[in-house]
Amino acid sequence: MSVVVTTAEPVEGIEPVTVSGRAKKRLSSPWASLAAIVLALLWTVPTFGLLLTSFRPQASIQSSGWWTWFSNPEFTLENYEETLFGGAALSTYFINSIVITIPAVVIPVTVASLAAYAFAWMRFPFRDLLFVAVFALQIVPLQIALIPLLRIYVDLGVNGTFWPLWLSHTIFALPLAIFLLHNFMKEVPRELIEAARVDGADHVAIFTRIMLPVVAPALAAFGIFQFLWVWNDLLVALTMTGGTTDVAPLTARIAELSGSRGSDWHLLSAGAFVAMVVPVVVFLFLQRYFVRGLLAGSVKG
């Protein structure tokens, strides 16, 4: 997990200037280029086809393939209008996704950074044992906790509100978050902390004034990972909300539409892109953090 983070290059490649770099370049044949292009097409054409479809009129979508658009170009925003504000009511679910995601990022990042700091820089009984236990919890699949967890929420009377989602995402994020942030905080030079202690700063002051600014990039990387994880999650959403309009996120609604209105492609195509637009924007603008975060969390869940 953490090892991958440090060895992995961000997506933006660095042009090498080594001798072998130049030598290797000469080896690439036209066949290699062709293979690369075919793969790149396989990875983009399906998405492009659905995107194009989402802007075609409903009647055309049902009667002809999206590739006919090139000989018969049409454009409409009606699908988006209907999917957002019509029967599918995706605008409501979009708000739900936002309301679920923001606290489900803020709360675990805060709780985890406090715990990570304690594990890295404070002395208390059973510290190492507890840290190993938290580390080990990363391997627990969510499924093993879901049924009793739902029971707890029902007993507490918070079922049907946003609290089950906020709390569940917080809990499931903690093992990875504590582990990652601990590794970053541990790398802060000891002299920095000790100098502050000599100056009379307590742990609260060191944490807020020294540690948080120093590990801000790590917080951002994990925050983005957690944001996308929660935004894209389906399992927790389905089990903790029962799919109701009041609290269910976009993913739950679209998965449900795929089952109940599986051939209404004017709704599904536009709906899928409504759900995708946020992650794609995050990806385009925060690529470096994003790749790091995703690699770090690759075995989560």
């Binding site: 060895t7 793969l39 708000i95 906790a145 707890i152 492609w265 899928a272 995708m276 794609v280």
Partner: protein
């Protein structure tokens, strides 16, 4: 509930949380006797309490419930587990899961590796990689919709055009259109392709970094010996990045074992496509058979543990 009210709830929840945490830290700052112990408790207890109540206790509870009947009232011993390993429908689920866990890592890693080598040091490397990596950003639900549309089937009749790309390609080539998602056992493979499409970006990114880390004197020496192209790939590149390859394979296998979204969105587990994680959801939250669902969750846990342990050990080696 109105949107406005929901956003209000969100702000309130964050404010409440910030208030409680702030208060704790403020109070702790005033403690003078045994300050370090009190401070450290305030720092770790919120996390440890959440984990104990929300993860450790439920995990134990689920294990316990896996020995009880569907409503957790009567002790049934190993009956749920016997059911999972003998019922024909369940055996299909286990078989599908095995196919997923074997095929997905191999195919994703193969694509990721080949692509990483192909675009390595090319002029378009950055954008070429972004193209393969982008599917990792979108949800598995979104990816499922994209591919469900590719697989879409229209009956092969006069005047009816295919609207799914794959069937149109078949028609162009002179074949009959197929119901890709309906016909077992190949439908599972078509679902797996969606996961490969998503995971190849992960494989490519990690492997590309490993390839760039191969010392140039090794590749130079190999070139002097006349090695090129495919031989270079086979005898130098692959052996040099073996640890990274194993990490990628096991990491994807772990993720695949828990795959749920794709099956749920594309087929709902019908037409013999269900896998353990999907069956857990169906049993636990649709059919409400807590006993079987708990047994499936425990099974998932038991299957994940050796993979994760192996994965972590390999990462240590790779580092």
């Amino acid at each position: 509930m109105e949107s406005f009210e929901k956003l209000g709830q969100m702000v309130l929840a964050i404010a409440l949380f910030a208030g409680v945490m702030g208060l704790i830290l403020l109070l702790v700052g005033r403690v003078k006797r045994r300050a370090e112990l009190v401070e450290s408790l305030a720092f770790v207890v919120p996390a440890l309490a959440l984990l104990s109540v929300g993860l450790v206790y439920p995990a134990i509870r689920t294990t316990y419930q896996s020995f009880f009947d569907r409503t957790s009232d009567t002790f049934v011993g190993l009956e749920n587990y016997t059911e999972v390993f003998t019922n024909p429908a369940m055996l299909t689920v286990l078989q599908n899961t095995a196919i997923w866990v074997i095929l997905t890592p191999i195919m994703s890693t193969a694509v990721g590796l080949v692509y990483a080598v192909l675009v390595d040091r090319s002029r378009f490397e950055a954008s070429a990689k972004a193209v393969i990596f982008l599917p990792m950003a979108i949800s598995l639900v979104g990816a499922s919709i994209i591919w469900k549309f590719v697989y879409e089937y229209r009956p092969d009749q006069q005047g009816i055009q295919q609207i799914g790309l794959l069937n149109q390609v078949l028609v162009w080539l002179g074949f009959e259109p197929q119901q890709f998602l309906l016909n077992a056992p190949l439908n599972t493979v078509f679902l797996i392709l969606v996961m490969v499409w998503v995971q190849a970006g992960f494989a490519m990114t990690v492997l590309s970094a490993a390839i760039k880390a191969i010392p140039s004197d090794i590749t130079d020496a190999a070139q002097l010996d006349g090695l090129g192209g495919i031989k270079m790939f086979r005898y130098i590149t692959v052996p040099s990045i073996r640890p990274a390859l194993i990490v990628v394979l096991t990491t994807i296998a772990i993720g695949t074992l828990k795959v749920f979204d794709i099956v749920r969105t594309m087929t709902g587990g019908q037409f013999d496509t269900s896998v353990v994680a999907n069956e857990f959801y169906t049993q636990g939250f649709r059919i409400l058979n807590t006993g079987i669902a708990s047994a499936l969750a425990v099974l998932l846990f038991v299957l994940v543990v050796p993979l994760v342990v192996y994965n972590v050990l390999q990462m240590r080696k790779a580092a």
